[in-house]
Symmetry: C2
Subunit: 284 residues, 2 copies
């Protein structure tokens, strides 16, 4: 197996594996977790993309997603958020103290600028190598959906809009809806993509929808957003996605959840709804 | 409020608080988390005792308990596993590298031996000060149950058996069933209670049941145990508890769960069953 299992746990009757492999896309080792429900497969797949600073472990241990995944018979794949390694920029405080650039902050795009371009190729990784590996090594039906949180919500939305042939459905929790118009995105895109903002728009969910991406592909896009999320106004800006969707005729269901913040306590409260949303479409 | 709130999150419609307070029982600051369901109280309480090395955070972030707690209308209180502080023995690798003695390893008893006796008084803390604080500061019905994992399963069982007036029901995940007869318990009890084993038996669940503790109080004791738990044979020994219960006429339901290990992935798979078990008895 190309994938090396580092840990295995039984959870909710399924098998959860922590895995690592040498990635051709990033030129580094990559880590991930994969949950396979119990019982007879094959199963459809939900790819989960995590947010800034996360590894695959945050979602795996804190989201409480596997009960619903077991009930609906869905494989969940949670990759790391970036390549990592001692030679990569962005590792550790001595090199780059930022939590929002470099390691742990891949933004699910292929960087074009030095020193990032050699390894920070998360779009190619997720939409190519990762999908191929999962379909080769696990009992999948060959269909999949995608979801994620914050930077990972941005990743889920943009990858689904750019690659509508790959995904049946997309949802997000507290996504960065328009990274070209918020500090996190402007910083990351300047570093990864360069100063020319014309190259940025195809990595911006609101602008992709405004430009008519994936027309008629997704019957709905489910987004949960806590109204007590401290990043809501400055970084996440769901109103920009809603406006673009309204103008383009793309249905988007943005649920503003009262009192909820940006944490995994928010996500665990609604993850079962998202898995049900995807399962319905994955099995249609 | 005697309790100082350090963090607040909304989760599954309820309010989760991380709290700290100066404990009279331990003479140190103590930390805990408290989940209060949404809606009208008052609510009964489930006290959760964690295992070796844990703080209140492990259960709070990983157990996935709050959906069931919200559904059943149960407050969940998760204290830390020991007093902590720079002057306390057992802190850090330089002082005491052991994970199974001192800080993070209070064993839910009152130590009688130096240097532990001054602060390591977790039995007094949980059964006195903590319960009083919770009933004073939160909308409780004044009735409560207790559960826990591993060392915390030992704590739940022994405290429930020693203080049957305080608890309506007790359950455990992978508890240390007879600490007087396993390496973890023998090490801790020698340090906390001294060489005289006669003082140990009242902190041993199997021996308490054998001695007829809490006769007729608990209609059943629910225990889940993974059969792939690496500590099962040497440290946990549920067969000793089962034998004592059978001899004493105490009903104990020990569910051996195939393939499950000692991790939170095991606990999150069955925590809803335990909350339902306690809710039924708390509301009877």
């Amino acid at each position: 197996m190309t994938l090396q299992t580092t840990k295995t746990h039984i959870v909710h009757g399924g098998t959860l594996r922590y895995l690592k492999h040498d990635s051709a896309a990033t030129g580094t080792p990559m880590t991930l977790s994969v949950f396979v429900p119990g019982g007879e497969g094959p199963f459809p797949v939900l790819i989960w993309l995590s947010g800034l600073t996360c590894t695959e472990d945050n979602f795996t241990t804190k989201a409480g997603a596997y009960q619903a995944a077991a009930e609906h018979g869905v494989i969940i794949v949670a990759p790391d958020t970036s390549p990592r390694g001692p030679d990569l920029k962005g590792e550790g405080v001595a090199d780059d103290p930022a939590y929002d650039l470099g390691q742990g902050a891949g933004f699910y795009l292929d960087a074009t600028q030095a020193p990032w371009a050699a390894h920070f190729r998360m779009e190619s990784y997720v939409t190519g190598e990762l999908i191929d590996l999962i379909d080769a090594e696990f009992p999948t039906t060959g269909v999949r959906s995608i979801s994620g949180h914050s930077m990972g919500g941005h990743g889920a939305l943009t990858l689904a809009l750019k690659h509508p042939d790959l995904f049946r459905s997309v949802s997000a929790f507290a996504p960065i809806c328009s990274p070209t118009r918020c500090p996190w995105g402007e910083k990351a895109f300047t570093a990864y993509l360069g100063e020319d903002r014309a190259a940025w728009d195809r990595h911006d969910a609101a602008k992709l929808i405004a430009a008519g991406a994936a027309p008629g592909v997704y019957d709905d896009i489910l987004i949960d957003q806590g109204d007590a999320d401290s990043f809501l106004t400055d970084q996440l800006k769901p109103e920009l996605l809603q406006a673009a969707a309204d103008a383009a005729g793309q249905k988007v269901t943005i649920r503003l959840q009262p009192g909820y913040d940006h944490s995994y306590f928010f996500m665990t409260s609604f993850i079962a709804d998202h898995i049900a949303f995807h399962a319905e479409r994955l099995k249609a």
